[in-house]
């Protein structure tokens, strides 16, 4: 009995937690899904790294309200993105478009990956050639060097 009550209260608590973000009365589930998607991919203009769904800044609330209105008006995804970008710029997009200004942003990871691969290839090659010095004439020991080495090794052996 007590446990049942506890579970029931926990569930009620969870329901109220969900309702804080999502109080809109959508005319269809498809709109609700799109609303949730948009609040994930749009960045709150006031906050440094929160999307509209996460932020409780007043401006994020207003934008969620606008988003709801636009969706209910039957606006397309492109219309809504345009609405947001016209007011708040590419800043609101977590996926900014690829253009001259954002080349660095988009291409740096790829460039760094290439640099990393190049370093890796160089390292592996160097290791491979170090492992087999006989393949490279310059690294191989000359006859006199080999004799000296043998002599040294032999000395060590006798001392042991």
């Amino acid at each position: 009995m007590k446990r049942g009550l506890l579970i029931g209260m926990t569930l009620l608590w969870a329901l109220s937690a969900v309702a804080v973000v999502d109080t809109w009365d959508f005319s269809s589930d498809a709109l609700r899904t799109r609303y949730l998607e948009f609040t994930q991919i749009l960045r709150c203009p006031k906050c440094q790294n929160q999307n509209l769904a996460d932020s409780n800044a007043p401006i994020a609330e207003d934008l969620r309200k606008e988003l709801y209105r636009l969706l209910e008006e039957g606006k397309t995804d492109a219309d809504i993105i345009e609405f947001m970008v016209a007011r708040y710029g590419d800043y609101v997009l977590y996926d900014p478009p690829l253009e001259k200004r954002t080349w660095v942003l988009w291409l740096t990871p790829a460039a760094l990956l290439l640099v990393g691969l190049a370093v890796l290839v160089i390292l592996v090659r160097t290791r491979a050639s170090d492992a087999s010095p006989a393949d490279r004439g310059s690294n191989a020991l000359s006859t006199t060097e080999r004799q000296r080495l043998d002599a040294l090794l032999n000395t060590d052996n006798t001392q042991e």
Binding site: Q48, I59, R87, G89, Y91
Partner: protein, 176 residues
């Protein structure tokens, strides 16, 4: 040839150090306005005095548009400076953003009214069109109503001299 490779870590270190050093002086809250170098959005709204105004009423001269509210702490600090700017002849339009209108009228009656007029933006919808993220914010518009600068935060003499005065001088130079 092999020795040269020893400097690679140093070069990388210096590059990263310069990058991070530069990052220290950048404001992560700075957000370029999408409206910069674009005309003010068209509107037809009612002022705090009950008159209907449109974007045409804001154009014709270089002016600033100040977004404020009585609930905004920085606006309290800023207001005295706005009064001073008005006495210097700066044209100031106000956007009373998401505010209680009677409180806003009372504020202006008590503290002085530096504004030509104040748009009553109770719902914050005009603020949304401007790309406002909070109050106070101030926009510099040229004679054609094109936004030249958006400043987030309270105005002060230092901000005015640094951000606004040079741009106004440039606009005046271009016009004359």
């Amino acid at each position: 040839m092999k020795r040269w490779g020893l400097y690679v870590p140093l070069v990388i270190f210096v590059a990263v150090a310069v990058l991070l050093w530069r990052g220290l002086s950048l404001d992560p809250n700075y957000m370029p306005s999408a409206l910069e170098n674009k005309p003010l959005p068209a509107f037809k709204l009612v002022t705090l005095d009950g008159n209907e105004v449109s974007q045409v009423d804001m154009t014709g001269d270089i002016a600033i548009v100040n977004v404020w509210a009585t609930w905004c702490p920085s606006c309290h600090v800023e207001h005295a400076y706005l009064n001073e700017l008005a006495t210097r002849g700066v044209i100031i339009f106000g956007v009373n953003y998401k505010d209680d209108l009677p409180k806003a009228r009372q504020w202006l009656a008590q503290r002085g009214d530096p504004y030509r007029f104040n748009i009553a933006d109770e719902e914050g919808l005009f603020g949304l069109d401007l790309g406002v993220t909070g109050a106070p914010e101030t926009y510099l518009i040229d004679a054609n109503g094109v936004v030249r600068l958006r400043y987030q935060g309270p105005l002060s003499e230092r901000v005015w001299q640094q951000e606004f005065a040079p741009r106004i001088a440039k606009l005046n130079g271009a016009a004359g």
